[in-house]
Every structure is written in C-alpha cells, then in structure tokens.
C-alpha cells in the first residue's frame, strides 16, 4: 500500500435507533456526538470542524453548531443524499491535509419514522410528479427492471441479498428487524413497484450517528486505535433516474476505481465491504460497479447466500438499511460498522482479522456515490 497516513477515524457511535418517540434530530445528533467523542476519548474542546447533511432547517449546520455549543474553524454541509457522510470523511481528510483543523465531528440525525414528512414538488421534479412516479422506490424499480431485461437477473437474486442481510442483522442486537426470513418470504411480500417488493426495500426508522476524524497527530492521543482513511472518491451522475446515463451502472464504477487507486489496494486486499442498501437492487448494481464482478453477473455473485455470515464475501455486516436501521440517509452507519469491524469490536458478527474495508455510499436515486477505503495498522 502506498497511501499516506493523513487522517483516521477515531470515534464512532449511533444515537438511539428504531422508534424514538419524543426525540428530535438535534437531540439524536447530540447523543451520537457525545458517544462518538467518548469512543475516541476526546472532549468537546477537541472538535474544531463540524460536518452534517440535513434538510430539517434553513441552515442546519448553523443550528447544529449552536445546539452543540461549537464554534468550528471549518464547516461542511455537503448534502448529496445518503452518501454524504462518506464525502464528509473525505472532505475532512482534505481539510486536515491542508492543515486547517485537527479533529472533525460528523453527525447525522433523523426522525423519519415517527415524523414522516412530504417531499415538495418543484423545479425538475415537476416533469415527473404529475405522472405519479414514486420517489425513490420507482426509480430503483426502473433500474431493476432494466437490469433484469439486459442480463436476465431474477427476483430470486435480489431476494438472496435481503435474506443474507437479515442473517447479519440477527447477529446485531441493535438491529430493528431480527426475525429470520426466507427467499420465499421476500418473493411473497407485497409488491411496492414492480419488480421490487416490500422486503427488497430498506426500513424507515429514526436514528442518528456520529463519526470523529482526526489528524495523525491528534489520532495518536485517541483512546482507540486509528482506522486510517486510505482512499476516497466521490461523484454525481444525475438526479432523477430519467437522466441516468446507464440504468445499470452507478457512479461507483468511477469512485471505486479512484478510491482503490488512492489507497493502493486491489479487490483481493479487501476483507469486508459495506455498501448502501436502500433497496436490494442498489447492492447488486454497486457490487458490479465496484468491479467485484462483471456487469450483469451480480445475480450469480450473490447467489447461494455468498454475502451472508459464513459466506466468502462478508457484506453489510450490521444488517444494513434493509434490516438494522434506515433513518433517511444511511451512509454514516456504513462507516460506523466498517470502523467497528476493523477494530474487531463486532462480537458474533465479527469478520475474522479484517484489516481493509471498503465503504460505498449511494445517494439520491442512484445519483451520487462516495467510496472510502479504510484500514488499520
């Protein structure tokens, strides 16, 4: 590996998850922030940069900084959907590299389950909403339909992903859904937008998370061993699936390649993979785009529960957005799980001797991707 040790993740935490009656997004973020700083062995005054992605206020980072009592030297509220937090980690590394700050706090919070709001129709959405096109599920359904048409992918292939992810959730006491499911359960669950069924879709839960990124200098005084950010890359390819250049290829084809090149790793070096699973099809497209298999081979790749506990491709070991939690934008939880795997903190779901993790966030409707390669010493 040729990547420099510039910055590391030194603290991770979730807030309360699931159904959080009476909690608001600021409380959840404060709770997660405190826990992540405790995890790092850092105090409030160590934080000199603040990152968040949100749409719950006109100026979320201002309200959040005030609520957390922070006066950061650096603030970044990049919001590219669920992949925002992978980008926040990347941007924090860049800021640290530029010598602008030493410790970045990244937070997210949502009450998506107890406080479901409506999306507003305007600007470019006005060419879609009057047709009754459901967002986001309709977009992902169209990508799935196209993949099935081009490559013969079957609903059974997608169901493999839902079942394997549930098996990981059964090993995670924080997961929202822990009852075992079968391929038949997935295939007989209610149709939402053909070909996607209920169990192809992520959960809708409340919850928050926080991640602390530190310079090499600051990481040296952290309580936990550093998880280095070895590579990072982001892109945006479109907003609506109607403008997606190829419905079967996500931006991860580009960001995966760039992040792995920066880290100096190949596919064989990667021990554990966390990819955004908003829908089962998201996982299949992402594995192909990242190059773990060829275009069109995703269905075969995930067959026979290959990505489940005990399989040879450990994937989404927290139980993912499909079974663990999904408070609107899941990307921060991918990082939290990857860091815990690399630290060896995952108990019965621990991937033995995991040294290198790949994290791939996907935001919007397959619109943005942001890839991280993380590794321990």
């Amino acid at each position: 590996m040729r990547s420099e040790r510039i910055a590391a993740v030194v603290g991770v935490a979730e807030s309360d998850l699931g159904e959080c009656h009476g909690k608001n997004v600021l409380m959840l973020q404060a709770q997660a922030a405190k826990r992540a700083l405790d995890d790092a062995g850092f105090a409030k005054d160590d934080v000199d940069a603040l990152f968040t992605a949100a749409n719950w206020a006109h100026f979320p980072p201002l309200m959040l900084a005030e609520y957390l009592g922070l006066k950061p030297k650096y603030v970044d509220s990049t919001n590219i959907g669920g992949s925002s937090f992978e980008s926040h980690v990347a941007h924090a590394v860049i800021g640290i590299q530029a010598g602008l700050f030493d410790v970045a706090l990244i937070t997210y919070g949502s009450t998506n389950r107890t406080n479901r709001g409506a999306f507003h129709s305007s600007l470019t959405l006005k060419y879609e909403d009057p047709f009754g096109f459901p967002t986001p599920v309709g977009h992902y359904a169209m990508a799935a339909m196209r993949h099935m048409h081009q490559y013969g992918t079957k609903p059974e292939h997608l169901a493999e992903i839902a079942v394997a992810t549930r098996k990981w959730a059964m090993l995670n006491e924080k997961a929202f859904m822990r009852k075992p499911i079968t391929i038949d359960d997935v295939l007989s669950s209610p149709v939402i937008c053909e070909p996607l069924r209920l169990l192809d879709c992520c959960l809708i839960t409340d919850g928050g998370g926080a991640v602390v990124v530190a310079s090499a200098r600051a990481a040296a005084r952290a309580k936990k061993k550093p998880v280095w950010v070895l590579g990072h890359a982001e892109t945006v390819t479109h907003y609506s699936v109607a403008q997606m250049p190829d419905l079967t290829v996500t931006g991860a084809r580009d960001t995966g390649r760039r992040a792995m090149a920066m880290a100096g790793v190949t596919h064989d070096d990667i021990d554990v993979v966390q990819v955004y699973d908003s829908f089962t099809i998201t996982v299949l497209l992402t594995l192909e785009a990242l190059g773990f298999c060829k275009p069109g081979e995703g269905g075969d790749f995930v067959s026979n529960q290959r990505t489940a506990p005990g399989g040879d491709f450990p994937l989404n070991t927290s139980g993912g957005g499909l079974s663990y939690c999904h408070p609107g934008m899941f990307g921060i939880f991918l990082i939290i799980e990857a860091v815990r795997q690399l630290r060896g903190e995952c108990g019965q779901r621990q991937v033995p001797d995991a040294k290198i993790a790949l994290v791939n966030g996907t935001g919007g409707t397959l619109s943005s991707t942001s890839t991280l390669v993380l590794g321990r010493d």
């Binding site: 006005k126 047709f131 309709g138 196209r146 149709v191 699936v241 109607a242």
Partner: protein, 133 residues
Amino acid sequence: MDAQFPMPPLDDDSRPFWEGAARHKLMIQRCKSCERHIFYPRFICPHCYSEEVEWVEASGRGKIHSYTVVHRAPPPFQSQVPYVVGLIELEEGVRMISRIVGPREQIAIDKAVSVVFEKVNDELTLPYFRLAE
C-alpha cells in the same frame, strides 16, 4: 381527481412544454449549436452550454427504456393503482418519465410507443404513451 394533485408550477423553463401538451403537441428543446435534443427543458444546453436552445415538436414516437408497475403510490394517486410509469426514450434521443396506458400484459422494455394526451383537469394536460400499433 384526488386531493393534493402535484400541479406543476409554470415557469419560463417549462411553459412551452405544458402549453404544448394542452394543444396536444409534445414539445422538447433542441440546441442550435450542437444540434442535440434536450429534455427536460433547460436555460442552457447541458451538452455544450450554448444559450441558443429552441423549442421543437417531437415526433411523439419512442420506445420503452424501462418501466415499473406502481402498486403503492403517493397519496394523490392511490386510487389509481396499479398503474404503469414508463421511462420513454423518444426518437430524438431524450428520455422522459410518463405513464404507459393500455393492456399491461403487453408492456415490455424496448417496445415502441407513441404519445397520447390525457386531460387531468382544466389546467393540466399530460403527455402519456401507449404501445404503437
């Protein structure tokens, strides 16, 4: 019509599209500089950044690039399920979201479609598509 129908706000970007639909014409843009067609409408050409974009009537013919049958719909459309939303690739090379009407069992990716116009209410007519003869 269901309550809260998402009426599209009219602005200078989109007015010719909606007004065209009301006259049963499918209007899209074309860049005078790079000669590529454009949809959805934009202030500048997204391919070459020329401001010389003009409105042209599309042929109304295209094919189904992808589609989904919606069984769980946003609130204003719940009484209509199941219905088919398609991603239509027009002959001019641009793609648009629309409804595909007609016998559901015959709908498939790559099949040819042509535009029809559906009056939603006094203020709005939408371009839908049906399988070509």
